[in-house]
């Protein structure tokens, strides 16, 4: 919200400079985001009077003027057709920066200096509205008010000797959405109480009740509704002071009546509305709920279809305003309006919010009403607006006001225990200190006992309902930074968080393998999310088609990242991500039917090592990934897992290999299908593994086993077998045949082709033998190896190759 420094001074006198005020308000919780000296841009511009205009001797379109700027008379060359002797004008002096250059296509500012124009000296510039950034007019100079004082600075003439603050008001504090509201907070700083101007009204002898009536049908949503009627006003532009005030607060002046309603809102926070009396049929107002589906045109010219329950201000026949949100076009103040009906009301915040939200309307009025206005401000604002309209637009104010307020809204009485206050804040404030803090906010102490006092909370403080709300106010006034900082050591035993340890372990292991951790956006297009075949979670209000569903797999994100890297020439890639994936499940889950899993995804492509002079780096293969997945599972402390090769439909990878841990599938690895790579613009072979984190959790307790006392013996054997016998089957066969001496089987060579019959291959293994009881001697080793070989020959039709 924008506030004017000068305006604030109307309600409370303070000497704080803008910088101090900003700092101190910020420390009270009114975050001053910025402030601006409004006149800054008109430094070096003054009001001058044109004394004399003569034709330029060397230029048809130029004139040479003598301009009185108070201290001296300047010679200025001017090109405007409308310049004339006697005019009051805005003069830019040498050194001043003209906000907009009308000869520059972008209107860039430029700085004035003494120049010779076609041989004639010019000591300044008479400016146009456009050049001063005050409006669009470029065709002639801006002519100021006849009464403008010669030599006065332009910023003061424009009412810009002021500072505008931009303050972020939190949604709990609607009472701060006005100058008077902020003045109350300044009162905490200065120790003075701010006050609103006293209203003096001259009423006619004609009673308002004779000419107008109000009926409130929806008393729940309209607890208070008040009007006054003013006849024979003259609609026109507002006086200077009013226009200046509105501009400083960031509002555009319109006409005197509308400007007054806005001024009063910015003064005391109460939104107002003015109707053209002549347009209110039956000279009455009825407040009631709209029929759903009724169409209504607001004063900004937009057509709306009213929702169920929208509260409307109606005349005898039709709707004339969406209550507390925006007035209707059919009854707004126009240039021909003579009689005005002024509305000041208090609306139920949640009703206003529902209607404004349903219609998608944001307005200053709705903004305040939905946060909560002050029901006690209704009559003051009404009278104040009437006073200012009489002042600025003349007219006859009918006697009395109509004020429908059937059920009085009282000040809230809120108890506060001194002990509780100190128990929350960690302070040792006395009861009288607390009372003093709250008094500064206009919150008075009522009844009380030793520890417990009752406080009367004014109706404008809608945020204070409970003891804790009062405690916050005490803390605010006492000063957050005056509360001592204490540290307490304590250990939480509930959340040792094994999941965290597992994720860290996985992350550290993969980083050790040379993987870069990536983080990709979890929202993606529905097309992408459907690639996995899972049913994706679809957003109701997405940012666009490309961002409309939650990811069902981490693979597409990494493929996209890989493609981006490839386009920068980085083709050797190892990436991983740990993150959540989502899908709609048929069974109910923790939240709705949404199944959420944390996964880790590995992505590999390109070379295994950087280039080196001594040895070649090689293209990564599926076996690199397969080995790394095995190492990762080892690092997680898992031992009962295996690869499964049966073909299941996996939409992203070809010939996927599944990882089964303790009987359940934990994920898969494989080569990404060519068409999937292509879809993301990645043009290399790529390998991925995606595993569910919860499946990687190992329950195994770390336990010591005695180290072997006797040496290992290694023997190599090579077999020729049918091509369709897998190495896994051979390994298993060897392990099952042993007498317990065989510790490990390592495949070290695989060969197909020349020297072998078609349909055959050769596999070579190292057998590692070891006894727990003794050092093995040759004949024991030979016997064991022979036993293994015989079994493999017999069971798998293998043939031992002589070595």
């Amino acid at each position: 919200m924008k506030l004017s420094h000068n305006w604030l001074q109307h309600y409370i006198k303070f000497k704080l400079a803008p910088e101090q005020l900003s700092e101190q308000l910020t420390m009270l919780g009114l975050e001053v985001e910025s402030y601006e000296h409004l006149g800054e841009k008109y430094k070096g511009f003054v009001v001058g009077q044109v004394l004399e205009v003569q034709k330029h001797p060397n230029a048809e379109k130029l004139s040479v003027c003598r301009v009185n700027i108070g201290k001296e008379v300047l010679q200025i060359v001017c090109g405007a057709p409308n310049v004339a002797a006697g005019q009051k004008v805005a003069v830019g002096l040498s050194g001043a920066t003209v906000p907009k250059n009308q000869h520059d296509p972008n209107g860039k500012p430029f700085t004035l200096s003494h120049v010779k124009l076609r041989g004639v000296d010019s000591f300044g510039m008479i400016c146009s509205e456009y050049e001063l950034d005050l409006g669009p007019d470029k065709d002639g100079i801006l002519v100021l008010d006849r009464k403008a004082k010669i030599g006065r600075s332009l910023s003061s003439y424009l009412g810009l000797d002021d500072v505008a603050y931009e303050i972020g008001i939190t949604p709990n504090r609607p009472d701060l959405l006005s100058h008077f509201g902020v003045a109350r907070e300044i009162g905490i700083l200065t120790g003075k109480q701010p006050s609103l101007p006293k209203v003096k009204l001259r009423e006619s002898t004609v009673s308002v009740a004779k000419h107008f009536s109000v009926k409130v049908e929806d008393k729940v949503n309209c607890p208070r509704f008040a009007v006054r009627v003013i006849r024979n006003v003259k609609i026109g532009p507002s006086p200077e002071w009013l226009q200046h005030a509105l501009r400083a607060a960031g509002l555009r002046p319109r006409n005197n009546v509308v400007d007054v309603t806005n001024y009063v809102m910015l003064e005391c926070g109460q939104p107002m509305h003015a109707f053209d009396y002549a347009q209110l049929r039956g000279s009455k107002i009825i407040v009631r709920q709209a029929k759903a589906g009724t169409s209504f045109r607001t004063l900004d010219g937009k057509e709306h279809t009213l929702p169920e329950g929208a509260v409307m201000v109606c005349d005898g026949v039709r709707e004339v305003s969406i209550a507390g949100v925006m007035g209707g076009e059919n009854s707004e103040i126009s240039d021909t309006t003579t009689d005005v009906v002024l509305e000041s009301a208090y609306w139920n915040p949640s009703s206003i919010r529902r209607t404004a939200k349903a219609l998608g309307i944001t307005s200053d009025a709705a903004y305040r009403f939905e946060r909560g206005a002050d029901p006690h401000a209704t009559p003051y604002a009404l009278d104040r607006a009437a006073e200012l309209i009489l002042q600025t637009a003349g007219g006859e104010l009918l006697k009395g006001r109509i004020d429908i307020y059937p059920k009085k809204i009282n000040e809230r009485i809120v108890p506060l225990r001194t002990s509780r206050c100190n128990r929350i804040l960690g302070t040792s404030l006395s009861s009288s200190e607390i009372v003093l803090c709250l008094k500064k906010l206009g919150i008075a102490k009522g009844k009380g006992s030793a520890d417990k006092n009752f406080f009367r909370v004014p109706t404008f403080r809608v945020d204070i309902e409970r003891e804790i709300d009062l405690i916050e106010e005490v803390a605010r006034v006492f000063g957050y930074n005056n509360i001592e900082s204490k540290t307490v050591a304590a250990i939480d035993l509930n959340h040792p968080f094994e999941k965290q340890i597992l994720a860290d372990r996985i992350c550290d292991t993969l980083v050790g393998f040379g993987y870069q951790e990536a983080l990709t956006i979890s929202i993606q297009s529905e097309e992408t999310s459907r690639l996995t075949g899972a049913s994706p979670v679809v957003l109701m209000n997405p940012l666009g088609k490309e961002m409309s569903t939650m990811r069902t797999s981490l693979i597409p994100g990494l493929l996209e990242a890989a493609a981006r890297n490839q386009s920068f020439g980085n083709t050797d890639l190892r990436l991983f991500e740990i993150g959540h994936v989502f899908r709609v499940d048929s069974e109910p889950q923790m939240v709705g039917n949404i199944r959420e899993d944390e996964r880790v995804c590995l992505f590999l492509s390109g070379k295994n090592l950087p280039r080196h002079w001594k040895s070649d780096s090689q293209e990564l293969t599926l076996y690199d990934l397969k080995g790394e997945v095995a190492d990762l599972l080892d690092a997680c402390g898992l031992d009962s897992w295996r690869y499964i090769y049966y073909s299941t439909s996996e939409t992203l990878a070809e010939n996927p290999i599944f990882v089964e841990i303790n009987g359940t599938t934990a994920g898969f690895l494989g080569k990404v299908k060519g068409e999937v790579c292509k879809r993301f613009g990645f043009e290399q072979e790529a390998f991925v593994a995606e595993l569910t984190l919860s499946a990687l959790k190992s329950d195994k307790k770390k336990k010591y086993t005695a180290l072997p006392k006797f040496p290992k013996v290694r023997r190599d054997v090579a077999f020729v077998v049918d091509s369709n016998v897998t190495s896994e089957i051979m390994e298993r066969c060897m392990k099952e045949s042993g007498s317990g001496l065989l510790q490990e089987v390592e495949l070290f060579d695989m060969y197909e082709g020349e020297n072998l019959p078609k349909g055959k291959k050769s596999l070579a293994f190292t057998l590692v033998l070891q006894s727990q009881e003794k050092t093995l001697v040759d004949h024991e080793i030979d016997t064991e190896v022979r036993r293994i070989v015989t079994r493999v020959e017999r069971e798998l039709g293998a043939e031992l190759r002589s070595s």
Partner: protein, 335 residues
């Protein structure tokens, strides 16, 4: 005496020139610089020099010692950087490198934050990213139809299910499943329905903290967060707590520290204010305790939260947070 010094100086200059190996250099050191070396023995002779000559002789001798030491140091340095090239081995050929893996900068930042709080006795908890209205809003004292909900632009899955807008719903889950004392932090990914720009993204990371026990005060909140900020941003930082508003805490505060880029003078990073907002915090609102079935008269607590992208951006000087999600390895490898 002075002739002796000059002679020794010549000898030193001559012999250092012929040193080509470490062994020869060591021999040089023992001959001239050792405790019983030639230079030291001249110092012993100094006592025999007549008094008037003593100051001058002492000065020259000191110069000689310094010169000798310098020549020795220079030679030592040059011997170390000269490889022993032989026919069999050129040690200057490049070694075999690996592709280096790195943890994502956001996760590095998060790790640092986690380790500080874990060091203060906090545990770590997490929760789902897709939440229901209850955990994300209602239980956290956001009434329906309240403007406070506008503070967070929300992605909805249906009327009741949404992408969590903050990590605060994990507070509710932690309290629903545990009894006090609780001291835990809750890191995770959150979502806001905001157009992607250099300053905002539709998803980002937060870390939330919660402490609930008998006797926890605002004073303790300040102390804990101050300890964190001093460890994380430096022990000399200036700080301030200023009032703010969050529906689920009361009193609520924001913590600022002096901008470490401009040292409080005002710059683009701190929007000319000289202060950087680093986190939001406050005392757990009694309504939140009521919604999880805790007795607000018995327990008090505090909560805090901060954004990881913003923290990391400040820390590493990253001016466009989209870089964190582009996964350009040229960017990732910088951390």
């Amino acid at each position: 005496m002075q002739t002796k010094i000059a002679q020794l100086r010549q000898q030193v200059e001559a012999e250092i020139g012929s040193v080509t190996t470490e062994d020869q250099l060591e021999a040089f050191r023992i001959k001239f610089l050792a405790r019983k070396g030639l230079v030291a023995s001249l110092f012993d002779d100094l006592k025999n020099v007549p008094a008037p000559e003593k100051p001058m002789a002492g000065k020259y001798l000191n110069e000689l010692r310094q010169r000798t030491q310098m020549l020795f140091d220079e030679k030592a340095a040059s011997l170390k950087s000269t490889p022993h090239v032989s026919a069999q081995l050129d040690p200057t050929l490049p070694g075999r490198r690996k592709f280096l893996g790195t943890k994502h900068p956001l996760m590095q930042t998060l790790d640092e934050i986690k380790s500080i709080f874990v060091g203060m006795g906090f545990g770590i908890a997490d929760g789902p990213e897709i939440e229901d209205d209850w955990h994300n809003f209602s239980a956290l004292n956001f009434p329906p139809d309240h403007p406070a909900r506008d503070m967070q632009d929300t992605f909805f899955v249906d009327r009741n299910i949404l992408l969590r807008t903050h990590t605060s719903p994990v507070q509710i889950r932690v309290m629903e499943n545990n009894t006090p004392p609780i001291r835990t932090i809750m890191p995770g990914r959150v979502y806001r329905n905001e157009a992607v720009s250099a300053r905002s993204l539709c998803n980002f990371y937060q870390v939330e903290g919660l402490a609930v026990d008998v006797g926890i005060t605002f004073s303790e909140l300040k102390g804990t967060l101050l300890s964190f900020a001093r460890r994380f941003y430096g022990k000399d930082i200036k700080y301030r707590f200023r009032p703010s508003f969050f529906p689920f805490t009361e009193p609520s505060a924001e913590m600022d520290i002096t901008c470490f880029i401009c040292r409080g003078k005002g710059c683009r990073m701190c929007k000319q204010s000289g202060w950087l907002e680093i986190l939001g915090c406050g005392m757990v609102d009694p309504n939140v305790f009521t919604s999880v079935g805790y007795d607000p008269e018995k327990y008090t607590g505090y909560a805090f939260g901060m954004g990881i992208e913003r923290t990391a951006a400040l820390l590493y000087g990253v001016d466009d947070i989209r870089l964190f999600y582009e996964n350009d390895v040229r960017f990732l490898r910088q951390f």
